[in-house]
C-alpha cells in the first residue's frame, strides 16, 4: 500500500464516518461540526487530486462562511436542542437498503472494470512549479467568462433573496428626515389640550 493509498483511505474513512455522524446526529450544531469535519476530509481528498485551489476554497468559503452561517442560524433560532428528538422511524432500514443497493450498483458501474488503473492510468504528478490557481484563473476569466458572469447574477439573486425574505421592512428603524426637522413649527411640537375640570365633573 502506497502512501497515497494510506492517505486516501484515512481521509475516506473520516469523510464517510463524519458524514454518517452528521446525518445521524441529534443535535444540529453537532451535525454542522461533523459536516465541517467531513468537508475537511473532502478537502484533503481534493488535495490528493491536486485541486489545491478548490480544497482551499472549500475550507475558506465553505467552512469559513457557509458553515458558520449554518451555526449562526441554528443559534439564532435556538433550535439546536429543543426540537431535536430523532425519529428515524421505520425509514432507516428501508433507507439503508435502498442506499446499499444504489451504492452497489454505482460500484458496479464505477468499479475497476471501467475506471481501474489499468483503464484510466493515474496521471503523472505535476511538478512544484505547477500552480493550480493560475491554471484555473487563466481559464476562469477567459474561456469561462460567461459562466462567471452568470455566477455573479446568482450571487445577486442570493442577496436579493436573502434580503427580500428575511429583512423586515422598517420595523425597528428610526429614520431622520432633515426636511421635516427644518420645517417644524411650534404647533407641531405643542398641543394644547383642553381638559374638563374635575369640579364640573363633580357636579
Amino acid at each position: 500500500m502506497t502512501f497515497d493509498q494510506i492517505l486516501f483511505y484515512v481521509f475516506s474513512f473520516w469523510f464517510i464516518a463524519s458524514s454518517l455522524a452528521m446525518i445521524f446526529s441529534r443535535n444540529a450544531a453537532k451535525a454542522v461540526l461533523f459536516l465541517i469535519l467531513s468537508f475537511f476530509s473532502a478537502a484533503s481528498i481534493w488535495i490528493l487530486l491536486e485541486a489545491e485551489f478548490l480544497a482551499i476554497t472549500l475550507i475558506l468559503v465553505y467552512v469559513g462562511a457557509v458553515m458558520v452561517l449554518f451555526l449562526f442560524v441554528i443559534k439564532m433560532l435556538n433550535i439546536d436542542k429543543s426540537t431535536l428528538r430523532a425519529k428515524f422511524a421505520g425509514y432507516l432500514p428501508l433507507g439503508l437498503i435502498v442506499a446499499a443497493i444504489i451504492i452497489a450498483e454505482m460500484t458496479l458501474v464505477l468499479g475497476g472494470n471501467q475506471f481501474g488503473l489499468d483503464v484510466v492510468a493515474a496521471p503523472a504528478r505535476h511538478g512544484a512549479d505547477y500552480s493550480n490557481i493560475t491554471v484555473l484563473a487563466m481559464q476562469l476569466y477567459t474561456t469561462y467568462v460567461y459562466p462567471f458572469e452568470l455566477a455573479a447574477v446568482l450571487l445577486l439573486i442570493a442577496i436579493i433573496a436573502a434580503i427580500t425574505l428575511v429583512h423586515r421592512n422598517e420595523l425597528n428603524r428610526k429614520k431622520q428626515s432633515i426636511s421635516e426637522q427644518v420645517d417644524v413649527q411650534a404647533k407641531d411640537r405643542v398641543r394644547i389640550v383642553s381638559i374638563a375640570s374635575s369640579s364640573k365633573e363633580a357636579k
Partner: protein, 101 residues
C-alpha cells in the same frame, strides 16, 4: 496508486449518505440542507477526480461554480428556513405538511 474508480466509489458513497440523510432525517430542515451540501461535495469530488485523471481543468472550473451556487443556495435555503420558523415557531419537517394529497 489510488485509482479513479476508488475516488468515484468514495463519492458515490458520500452521495448516497447525503440522499439517505435527507429522508431519514425528519427532525429539522437544517439537516436536510446539510445533506444537500454533502451531495454537492460528493459531486464535486467526482468532478475533481475526473478532472485530475483526464488532465482537464474544466471539471475543476465546474466545481468552482458549484461551490458558488451552493453558497447562494444555502443563503436562500436559510432564509426560507427563517421564514418557516417565524411562521410556525419550529422547523420540524413533521409539521410542514399542510399541502398534500
Amino acid at each position: 496508486m489510488v485509482s479513479l474508480s476508488d475516488y468515484l466509489i468514495l463519492s458515490a458513497i458520500i452521495f448516497c449518505i447525503g440522499l439517505v440523510g435527507i429522508f431519514v432525517n425528519r427532525t429539522n430542515i437544517i439537516t436536510l440542507l446539510m445533506c444537500v451540501e454533502l451531495i454537492l461535495v460528493a459531486v464535486n469530488t467526482n468532478f475533481i477526480a475526473f478532472s485530475h485523471f483526464l488532465g482537464n481543468e474544466a471539471g475543476q472550473i465546474f466545481v468552482f461554480f458549484i461551490l458558488t451556487v451552493a453558497a447562494a443556495e444555502v443563503a436562500i435555503g436559510l432564509a426560507i428556513l427563517t421564514l418557516l420558523f417565524r411562521n410556525k415557531g419550529t422547523i420540524n419537517v413533521d409539521v410542514t405538511n399542510s399541502l398534500k394529497g
